[in-house]
C-alpha cells in the first residue's frame, strides 16, 4: 500500500497520511479537467459543431480560462439569502461527493481507507449531497431554487433505494462491503467480473448472469438519477427551473457545484465499475505478470480503473446529449413502479440461491 511505503520513506505518520489523502483530490481534479473537456467536445461533435477551438490546441486550455474567469468573478450573495447556509452549501456538496473517493480502490496498491464498510460508507457520505442541495435551494430564497432543491431531494432519496437493494444483493453474493476485497475477488479475466456472475463456477454462474445484467442496468439508471444527469436532470432543468438549486450562485461557489457534479459522476462510475466490472481489474490479464515485472501491475490497474471510469462518464454524456428529460412524476413512477420491484425480486432470488 502507498500509505505504508510513504510512512517508511518519510518516517512521519501525519505527513504520509496527508499525502495519501491528497492523492485522490489531485486525481479527481485532473479527471474533472479531462471530463469537462470531453463533455464539451463530445456534445459538440454529437451536435455537429466543433466545440471550443480557440484556447490552446483544439480548445484544450478552455477549462483553465473558464476557471480563471470563475475565480475572478464577483461572488454575489443576494440580500435576502440565509447567509451561513448559503455559503456553506457548496462546500457540503463538494465534501459529499469527494468523500466517496476515500473508500474507492484506485489500484490494488492504493485505497484511501481500508474500510470494511466501504460501500456503506460511500452511500452514507453521498447523503450529504442531498443535505447540501436542500440547503442551497432553501437559503437562496428563490422559488425556482427551492422547487429544484425539493425535486432533487425527492429524486436522490428515491433512487437511493434501488441502488441500495442492488448493493445488498451484491453484498449477499460476495459477503463483503469492502470495495477493495470486492475488486480483488473479480481478478482474473473478464468472465470473473460480477457482471458475468463473478468468480462463481458451475450452474450458479448461469443463473447469476441474467440477474447481474438486470442489476447492472438498474444501478446504472439509478446512478444517472442520483447525479442529476439527463434524462433525470429535473432538479437542474435548465428550461424549466433555470438550473434549479444553484441559480443564485456565482463565481467559485458555482464552480464548487460544477466540480461536485463531475466528481459525483466519476464517483458513481467508479462504484458501478467496482461492483460489476471488476473495479481496477484488467479484463485481459496483466502485462506485468507476463514479463515478470510485479511493479507494473498497479500502474496497469490504475489505467484500467481510469479507463472504466471515463468510459462510464462518456456513456453518461452520450445519454445526456441524446435524450430529452423526464417529468418529475414520470421519474418517480420509473423508480417506484419499475426499478424497486425488479430490484426486490432480484434480491429475493439471490437470497434464496445463497441460502440453498
Amino acid at each position: 500500500m502507498i500509505y505504508d511505503s510513504l510512512k517508511s520513506f518519510l518516517g512521519s505518520d501525519i505527513l504520509a497520511m496527508f499525502i495519501s489523502a491528497a492523492l485522490p483530490l489531485v486525481y479527481v481534479l485532473t479527471y474533472v479537467i479531462v471530463a469537462v473537456y470531453l463533455e464539451r467536445k463530445i456534445s459538440a461533435h454529437i451536435q455537429d459543431r466543433l466545440g471550443p477551438m480557440r484556447v490552446g490546441w483544439h480548445g484544450t486550455l478552455q477549462l483553465f480560462a473558464d476557471m480563471i474567469k470563475m475565480i475572478m468573478k464577483e461572488d454575489i450573495v443576494a440580500k435576502d439569502t440565509d447567509k451561513p447556509l448559503f455559503n456553506f452549501a457548496p462546500y457540503l456538496i463538494f465534501i459529499g461527493s469527494f468523500g466517496a473517493f476515500a473508500a474507492i480502490p484506485f489500484t490494488s496498491a492504493y485505497i484511501g481507507s481500508q474500510l470494511d464498510l466501504g460501500i456503506f460508507y460511500i452511500i452514507g457520505i453521498s447523503g450529504l449531497v442531498v443535505a447540501g442541495i436542500l440547503m442551497a435551494g432553501w437559503s437562496s430564497n428563490n422559488k425556482y431554487s427551492l422547487l429544484g432543491a425539493m425535486r432533487s431531494a425527492a429524486q436522490i432519496v428515491s433512487y437511493e433505494i434501488p441502488t441500495m437493494l442492488v448493493v445488498v444483493t451484491m453484498v449477499m453474493i460476495t459477503g463483503t462491503m469492502n470495495l477493495h476485497t470486492l475488486s480483488e475477488m473479480q481478478t482474473g479475466h473478464i468472465w470473473n467480473w460480477m457482471l458475468f456472475g463473478g468468480p462463481e463456477f458451475g450452474i450458479n454462474k448461469f443463473i447469476f448472469i441474467p440477474i447481474m445484467v438486470i442489476n447492472f442496468i438498474i444501478v446504472y439508471i439509478s446512478t444517472l438519477a442520483e447525479v442529476n444527469r439527463t434524462p433525470f436532470d429535473i432538479p437542474e432543468a435548465e428550461s424549466e427551473l433555470v438550473s434549479g438549486y444553484h441559480t443564485e450562485y456565482s463565481g467559485m461557489k458555482f464552480g464548487m457545484f460544477f466540480l461536485a457534479e463531475y466528481a459525483n459522476m466519476f464517483a458513481v462510475s467508479c462504484i458501478v465499475s467496482a461492483l460489476f466490472l471488476g473495479g481496477y481489474q484488467s479484463p485481459v490479464g496483466y502485462l506485468g505478470n507476463l514479463i515478470h515485472a510485479q511493479w507494473m501491475i498497479p500502474i496497469e490497474q490504475f489505467f484500467w480503473f481510469s479507463l472504466k471510469g471515463i468510459l462510464f462518464v462518456c456513456v453518461q454524456m452520450w445519454i445526456r446529449w441524446t435524450v430529452p428529460r423526464l417529468r418529475v412524476d414520470q421519474l418517480m413512477a420509473l423508480c417506484w413502479k419499475y426499478l424497486i420491484p425488479i430490484a426486490f425480486v432480484n434480491l429475493l432470488i439471490i437470497g434464496l440461491l445463497t441460502v440453498l
Binding site: T322, P324, V328, D329
Partner: protein, 371 residues
C-alpha cells in the same frame, strides 16, 4: 387541526429561457399543479400599428419584417397581398411563384426553429442544433436572393425587390432531397423518442371546439383535427396550382390535439412545404419581377382585409385607406397573439414542466404578440 396552506405565485419570465422571448407568465401553483396562468405581454411593444400611419405604403414593409421575426418573408407576403387587394394590382406570374417559394422556405425555417426550441424545452439539446444547421442553408438561400438573413424587405406590394439569384434554383433543388433525409433523422431522434412521447402525449389537450372558440389558427388548430388552411380554403397567390396536403393531428400516440400532435403537425407541414417548393421550382415561369411595382401607391378610399397562412396561423392585415399615400389605419391580426390567449385554458391542472411543454407548442413569437 387543519394545516394552513397557501397557493404559491410563481413568476415565469420575462427573463426565463423557455418563454420564447420576453413573455411573463404569472403561475398560481398548488404544489406543482397549475391553478391559473396569466400571461403578461407588452415588453416588446413598438407601436407598429401606430407607426404605419405616418409611413407611405411601401415604407411599411420593413416594419412588418420586425413583427414575427422568424417568418419575415411571410409577413411581407401578407402585407403585399392586402395592399394589392386594396389597390387592385395584378402582379406577374413569376413574382407569385417567387413569393410562394420564399414563403414556403420561410415556413420550413420557422418550423425548424419551433421544433428545435421545443426540443430544448423538453430537455433535448441536440435536435436544436440540427434544426439550426438546416435553417442556416435556407437563410443562405435568402441571403443570395436579397442580401439579408432575417429582415428581408424583399416582397413589396406589386413585386419583389430582386429577381432570383442565378444559382438559386439549383441550390434550392439540391436542398429539398437533403432536407427530406433530415426530417427522417429528426423523427428518429426526437419525434418517436419514448421519453419525448411520454412528456408530450396527452399533455395540454386542445379539443377542436375550444380551439375554434378561441380563434386558434395554424398548426395548433390543425393539430386539434380541424382541416383549416387558408392556402387551401381561401387561396391567395398561386397556391391553387399546387398539389399538397393539409396535415391534421390524428392522436397517433395520445389524444387528438395534444402537445405531440401540435409538434408533429409542424414536422408534417415541413414535408408539405417541400412538395410545394419542388412543384414551384419546376413550374416557375420567366418574366420581369418589378414591372408591376407602382411608383407611388395611392389606393382609393376603402378598406380591405388580406390574410395569409403564416407558419403560425392566420396573419391578417386590415387596412383602411382615406385615399392618401399612407394608410389611415392598419390593424394586424397576429396568429401568435391569438394563439397565446389559450394558454390558461390549456395549462390548468398540469405541472410546471407541462407549462413549458404547452407553451412550446403554441410557438409564439413575442415580437408579433406585442407588435
Amino acid at each position: 387541526m387543519a394545516l394552513k396552506t397557501e397557493e404559491m405565485v410563481l413568476n415565469m419570465g420575462p427573463q426565463h429561457p423557455s418563454t420564447h422571448g420576453v413573455l411573463r407568465l404569472e403561475l398560481i401553483l398548488e404544489g406543482e399543479i397549475i391553478q391559473k396562468v396569466t400571461p403578461h405581454i407588452g415588453y416588446l411593444h413598438r407601436c407598429f400599428e401606430k407607426h404605419t400611419e405616418a409611413m407611405t405604403y411601401p415604407q411599411v414593409v420593413p416594419y412588418t419584417d420586425r413583427m414575427d421575426y422568424l417568418s419575415s418573408m411571410y409577413n411581407e407576403f401578407g402585407y403585399a397581398v392586402a395592399v394589392e387587394k386594396l389597390c387592385g394590382i395584378e402582379v406577374p406570374e413569376r413574382v407569385e411563384y417567387i413569393r410562394v417559394i420564399m414563403g414556403e422556405f420561410q415556413r420550413i425555417a420557422s418550423h425548424l426553429v419551433a421544433i428545435g426550441t421545443y426540443g430544448i424545452d423538453i430537455g433535448a439539446f441536440t435536435p436544436f442544433l440540427y434544426c439550426f444547421r438546416d435553417r442556416e442553408t435556407i437563410l443562405n438561400l435568402f441571403e443570395i436572393t436579397c442580401g439579408a438573413r432575417l429582415m428581408y424587405n424583399y416582397i413589396w406590394p406589386g413585386g419583389v425587390s430582386h429577381d432570383l439569384h442565378p444559382d438559386f434554383i439549383r441550390l434550392a433543388k439540391e436542398f429539398i432531397p437533403y432536407f427530406r433525409k433530415t426530417i427522417d433523422e429528426l423523427n428518429n431522434l426526437l419525434s418517436y423518442n419514448k421519453i419525448f412521447i411520454e412528456r408530450t402525449a396527452n399533455v395540454g389537450i386542445l379539443p377542436k371546439e375550444t380551439a375554434i372558440n378561441f380563434g386558434i389558427t395554424g398548426p395548433m388548430l390543425r393539430a386539434s383535427g380541424f382541416k383549416w388552411d387558408i392556402r387551401k380554403d381561401d387561396p391567395y397567390s398561386v397556391y391553387n396550382k399546387f398539389d399538397f396536403n393539409i396535415p391534421v393531428g390524428q392522436g397517433l400516440v395520445g389524444t387528438v390535439g395534444d402537445s405531440w400532435d401540435r409538434y408533429y403537425v409542424r414536422v408534417l407541414e415541413m414535408e408539405e412545404s417541400c412538395k410545394i417548393i419542388e412543384q414551384a421550382l419546376e413550374q416557375i415561369p420567366e418574366g420581369d419581377v418589378s414591372s408591376a411595382i407602382p411608383k407611388r401607391i395611392k389606393p382609393p378610399v376603402g378598406q380591405v382585409y388580406g390574410r395569409v397562412e403564416n407558419p403560425r396561423g392566420e396573419l391578417g392585415y386590415f387596412i383602411i385607406s382615406n385615399g392618401g399615400t399612407s394608410p389611415f389605419r392598419i390593424k394586424v391580426r397576429g396568429p401568435s397573439f391569438v394563439n397565446l390567449s389559450i394558454i390558461d385554458e390549456l395549462c390548468r391542472g398540469y405541472m410546471i414542466a407541462d407549462v413549458i411543454t404547452i407553451l412550446g407548442t403554441t410557438d409564439i413569437v413575442l415580437g408579433e404578440v406585442d407588435r
